[in-house]
Amino acid sequence: MKKILSLSVLGLKQVRRQKLFVAMVFFFILYLGFCLFLGKLSVAHADKVLRDTGLMGIEISLVILSIFGLSLDFARERSTHTLDIYLLHLGRSAYLATKMLSYILASCLYLVISGLALSIFLLLYRSFTPAIFGALYSLLLKITLVIAFTSLFAVVFSSPLLAMSATLFIYIGAELLPSAWEIMSRTPNVYERGVIYTIYAIFPNFSRLDFRYLAVWGNFPSGTQIVQVTIYTLAYLVCVYLLNTIVLGKKEL
């Protein structure tokens, strides 16, 4: 465990120094200007719009950072043979844990930076509510699952483009499936309903993880909700990680 933590901190340093990380921080700062514009357009609900679009911006930039960063990082490590060195020191399962933890730590760092920026922005425009911290926590859980899927697809596919596309598909699917299930749950066709429900159950349940809508209205999630989503995320993470170790264990490098 000590070696995984130690190398994850090293991985965090590496991610923090990447251009993509810096670019995402700047992107978010510029995006706050766009939020301000949207807030001005919606006179009566400016506070809610500022919170909603601000949190959305953090999510978009974090998804880009984790999907693009991790897929390209894995491909780069393969082509430069740094992967061989890491595998020779760590073994395959520890390497995967290290890689995922590095990006989870980098996401935490990004959440702290962007969360602070958003808080200051909301304070300036009198829209701040401490409930946004609940939303930031749920965002961390979502991103943890996105990172788990990115590392799985980065191992499965040799091409980073395929890995990114597959993860984006999972991310978009997980975001849209609750609505699809809402519609299909009313269909009389049992077979169609069964298929959609199975896919809905297998995909990560992002709609239940997301506390953004609570934060927009200034509400905190309950303690039970927080515990439930944390357990759900950890259980899902372990499943994807185990699947990933099996795939990497069988993969010839």
Partner: protein, 235 residues
């Protein structure tokens, strides 16, 4: 000398194309073992099989008298890959110290950097290193866990004459410290000066294994390149 690594009857194919066919070779303790062959002969594949990055279709790799395991590879073998480029966002000392935490016994990172002549570059990002410096840093990474065996895949690839000389001097000093070295190379003149034993891999088979003098005698010549070419064309 004690037999450290032995490759027994190893075969490997990629999508029904044979790359290695029944390879047998032994590496003894303390020797510098040169793996020679033309491009695509299967040298890197063989190294990857020894390191368990690839699975052989047939055959096995032994460590002394037992099967070579992941734990033995992690503890006893250092590896410098072909075309190694370390992560450019890290400093040499950071990567060495990070990886040192994964090893049971390690040499001090600062001592290693001094050994490979990079003691003045510890605070520099690896992305700013020249090709030669990267290769020397790769050697430092190899030696971090104080391994018994060091495997180097084309260690002089992309290096200028001075870089090549430094690399071979480094290998000679490792031998003096009792390390066993397996390396693959194309530069025959330098192989001749440094290797104790060579194996020539040609079209997936070991066509010659032994001392360079034996190869020269076999082909009645004093020129290593000529003997090598005759051996390659023999099949």
């Amino acid at each position: 000398m004690e037999e450290l690594i032995s490759v027994r009857n190893v075969s490997k194919s990629f999508s029904s194309r044979f790359v290695l066919k029944g390879i047998n070779l032994e590496v003894r303790k303390g020797e510098i073992f040169g793996l020679l062959g033309l491009n695509g002969a299967g040298k890197t594949t063989l190294i990857k099989i020894i390191l368990k990055f690839l699975r052989p279709d047939k055959g096995m790799v032994m460590w002394k008298d037992s099967l070579l395991t992941d734990a033995i590879i992690r503890d006893k073998i250092g590896y410098l890959p072909e075309n190694f480029f370390p992560p450019s966002q890290l400093k040499a000392i950071e990567l060495l110290e990070g990886l040192a935490s994964t090893c049971t016994s390690t040499l001090p990172p600062s001592q290693l950097l001094k050994m490979v002549g990079l003691e003045k570059e510890t605070g520099r990002y690896l992305g700013f290193y020249s090709r030669g410096m990267m290769q020397r840093f790769g050697v430092a990474l190899c030696l971090l866990k104080d391994p018994e065996v060091v495997i180097m895949d084309e260690p002089t690839l992309g290096l200028d004459i001075r870089g090549q000389r430094q690399m071979f001097d480094l290998m000679a000093s490792l031998k003096d410290k009792g390390k066993t070295i397996i390396f693959s190379s194309h530069i025959l003149s330098q192989v001749q000066t440094i290797a104790d034993v060579i194996s020539i891999v040609n079209r997936g088979r070991v066509s010659f294994g032994g001392k360079i003098e034996e190869l020269l005698n076999l082909h009645s010549t004093k020129v290593f390149e000529e003997a090598f070419l005759k051996e390659i064309e023999k099949q």
